[in-house]
């Protein structure tokens, strides 16, 4: 305990110092050899990763287990801003099962991305800046997951938004990158406004920001919230529900849930490793983490909101999966796949119970489990996509085809990750996705049907991607430039991440491995014995198999079937490939209705009424000043006139009055 308390500040301090060092001195010190900046960043992150692993292992296997449940440790908590005696914003470090798991996820993916970027970003303008911002992001994300109070989380929440903005706009000479960065920042910021309002409502009633106090449960209630907010109504809705829904909207913005999903596909303008780290593995699951963190409050005090979250999640996952089937830019396919998979995690949370008895909180465990496995295989997919883009110099599927001959390592790791995301036994994705489906099945059959269908779609579009890149017919454009295997420092992260995806092979032979998540990460932190529901497992395997089979038929070799099918459902195909025109709707609402309609009236009011009133005041004082400025001319004789008239007037007054 002593050791992990002493080590914990390193996790926040080291990435921050790296950011300051590389950001302030990187360009000057490493002008001739920018790679040193990359090595320093990677070395620093290795230390952070080792410390994170040490803390997580110590927590899960040595220190954390209390009498029956895992304890929540606050390793340190410094008072930062004191608003009232009770309402204090602190910066601290909280260790509980989900934050310990997130430490592992973030440090692993971040370290892999650091190593990978040494090769991928080699020779890029602004290499030092890239590593500085990666460190900033790691710092912010670590601060977010270990936050002891919701306001600290909000601060780091915005910091990850800033680092996301900086990385999307890394190629800031490209107008599309600048537009994408602005879009991402504005959309998530817009959602964060609701988050802030939610925090303020919650803290207004409960008079605290502290997670430990907010999520304390007794007698089937989140005690504090129940005591202070129960029965408070606003416009016919319970204030608790409003606050929790607003907080969820913040999470929906960061996690790209419908209708805030529009920024994520565009965010792929950033460098691919940054997309892997931020827009696939870690930052975009912050919304899931937020709901998981506040889960007792959602479950006991705002269950209606949790139901809404479930349906928003189900809709988003279906919606994004359909779009992913029609995209041709490989990074965009992965982006929509990410949206769809994060939506899975929300659905899992929504169908979860609280206690560990009778596997009631299976959904919660499955959500966190899927978060973990998804981070690993999606990062691997993105990094693999980066290798492919590096080799063929294009994001478009049409420029690829038959790459398995040229890039065996990328091919194998990409294939493993595709099998995992499709949910094929015994890859990690199978287990986590299967538990989500079981939880959904037990809770809500509609959600189950939807998610099972999405599982099939996922298998289809991922294998469409896989066959299209690695099989299919060779692109004639390759003739003059043979694609080649990426350098070793890009392949090692792929291999490491695939190993994480394949760890679940142990699940077949070892029950301890199978119970890894269910015994440690549960809503009430007690742990339960997980049993496989083979009916649903076989059903989902069949669905995934069908998806893969369809992809195999359509995309293994060049043929006209895909075009034929697209022609049959032309309307659906075209609208899906245009992402159901959601961007256009946004543009219509912002440009035509807000900028073109409402803002014109507001601008008129501002220019004519508000500015007009101020101009009137200015005009009056100017005219008055012109009129009276002759009084002070500096002309002595004129003053004498005034003096004389004054004296005469006083004399008259004295004499005749």
């Amino acid at each position: 305990m002593e050791t992990i308390t002493n080590l914990s500040p390193i996790i926040l301090a080291l990435p921050f110092l790296m950011f300051l060092f590389l950001g302030l001195c990187g360009n000057k010190l490493f002008k001739s050899n920018p790679n040193i900046a990359g090595w320093i960043g990677t070395a620093g992150l290795s230390v952070v990763a080792i410390v994170s692993y040490y803390i997580a292992i110590q927590y899960f296997w040595v220190e954390g287990k209390g009498a029956d449940a895992y304890q929540q440790f606050v390793l340190f908590n410094h008072e930062w801003l004191k608003m009232t005696d009770n309402l204090v914003i602190s910066i601290g470090f909280m260790l509980d099962p989900i934050s310990a798991m997130m430490l592992v996820v973030i440090s692993t993916v971040s370290l892999m991305v650091h190593i990978y970027s040494l090769g991928y970003m080699h020779g890029e303008e602004g290499f030092q800046r890239y590593y500085a911002v990666l460190s900033l992001f790691t710092f912010a994300m670590m601060g977010l997951v270990v936050a002891t109070n919701i306001f600290q989380m909000y601060i780091f929440w915005e910091l990850v938004g800033v680092s996301s903005f900086l990385l999307i706009s890394f190629y800031f000479i490209k107008p599309s990158a600048v537009a994408a960065a602005k879009k991402a920042f504005i959309v998530t910021r817009f959602a964060d406004m609701f988050f802030l309002i939610g925090i303020l409502i919650l803290s207004y009633y409960t008079n605290t920001f502290d997670f430990l106090k907010l999520t304390a449960v007794s007698d089937g209630h989140a005690t504090l919230v129940n005591n202070t907010m129960c029965g408070e109504m606003f416009m016919g809705l319970s204030v608790t529900s409003i606050a929790m829904f607003l907080i969820f909207l913040g999470g929906a913005g960061k996690s790209a849930m419908f209708p805030f999903h529009i920024w994520l596909p565009d965010a792929m303008e950033g460098p691919t490793p940054a997309s892997a780290l931020i827009h696939a593995a870690t930052m975009v699951v912050a919304g899931v983490f937020l709901v998981a963190r506040m889960f007792p409050v959602y479950f006991f005090e705002a269950h209606d909101v949790l139901t809404i979250i479930g349906y928003i999640g189900a809709f988003t996952s279906l919606f994004a999966a359909i779009i992913a089937c029609t995209q041709t830019d490989i990074k965009r396919v992965l982006a929509f796949s990410t949206i769809s998979q994060i939506a899975y995690m929300f659905v899992a949370l929504a169908v979860s119970g609280y206690t560990s008895e009778h596997e009631a909180c299976l959904g919660y465990t499955a959500s966190m489990w899927h978060l973990f496995t998804h981070a690993m295989f999606k990062a691997c997919l993105f990094l693999g996509a980066g290798c492919i883009i590096h080799a063929v110099h294009s994001n478009e599927m049409n420029a690829m085809g038959n790459l398995r001959k040229f890039m065996p390592i990328a091919h194998i790791t990409f294939g493993i990750s595709c099998l995992a995301i499709a949910g094929i036994l015994p890859f990690s994705g199978f287990y986590s996705k299967d538990e989500i489906l079981v939880a959904a099945f037990e809770h809500d059959k509609v959600l189950y049907a939807c998610q099972a269908f999405v599982a099939g779609l996922t298998a289809f579009y991922m294998f469409r991607l896989y066959f299209r890149i690695f099989w299919y017919s060779e692109n004639p454009a390759h003739a003059h430039h043979t694609p080649h295997e990426a350098p070793m420092n890009m392949n090692i992260p792929l291999i490491v991440l695939s190993v994480f995806t394949c760890y679940s092979f142990f699940n077949l032979v070892s029950n301890d491995s199978y119970q890894l998540f269910s015994s440690k990460i549960t809503a009430d932190r007690v742990g339960f014995e997980l049993e496989t529901n083979w009916t649903i497992a076989i059903a989902s395997l069949l669905v995934a198999g069908v998806g893969i089979a369809i992809a195999w038929v359509l995309y293994k070799e060049k043929n006209d079937k895909p075009d034929m099918i697209a022609g049959k459902v032309k309307c659906l195909y075209i609208s899906a490939s245009h992402r159901f025109y959601i961007d256009e709707i946004y543009l219509f609402i912002t440009r035509k209705i807000i900028f073109g309609g409402i803002c014109v009236a507001i601008a008129w009011f501002d220019r004519h009424i508000i500015d007009g009133f101020m101009n009137l005041l200015a005009w009056i004082s100017r005219e008055l000043s012109y009129d009276i400025r002759d009084v002070q001319s500096g002309n002595l004789q004129q003053y004498a006139w005034g003096f004389l008239v004054g004296v005469l007037a006083i004399a008259m007054f004295a004499i005749y009055y």
Partner: protein, 102 residues
């Protein structure tokens, strides 16, 4: 015997002629002369009031002497300033002397 009012009418006329000159003359020397007129109108008043109201006292006469002395000193200083201004600016009109620098 000349009545006191006659003296006062003269001094009043003299005073207002001086005031008028002070206000409208542009030439510095003219203004200086106008100021002399004002001072002399005051001197007449001192002397007249002393002569008619308190013939046994001398304060009015003495004061008028003081005024003459001070006016002489003032005139000397003013003339020297005017000469210097003229040397610098080649002009003695008040409205052309509007700069402290130079």
């Amino acid at each position: 015997m000349i009545p006191v009012e006659a003296y006062l009418v003269v001094s009043t006329l003299l005073f207002f002629i001086g005031v008028y000159g002070f206000l409208v003359r542009k030439n510095l020397i003219g203004i200086l002369m106008a100021v002399e007129l004002i001072l002399n109108a005051v001197n007449i008043n001192f002397v007249v009031f002393n002569r008619f109201l308190y013939p046994d006292h001398l304060e009015g006469y003495i004061y008028s002497l003081f005024v003459i002395v001070v006016a002489a000193a003032e005139t000397a200083i003013a003339i020297s300033i005017i000469i210097n201004v003229y040397r610098k600016l080649k002009d003695v009109r008040v409205d052309s002397i509007n700069e402290l620098k130079n």
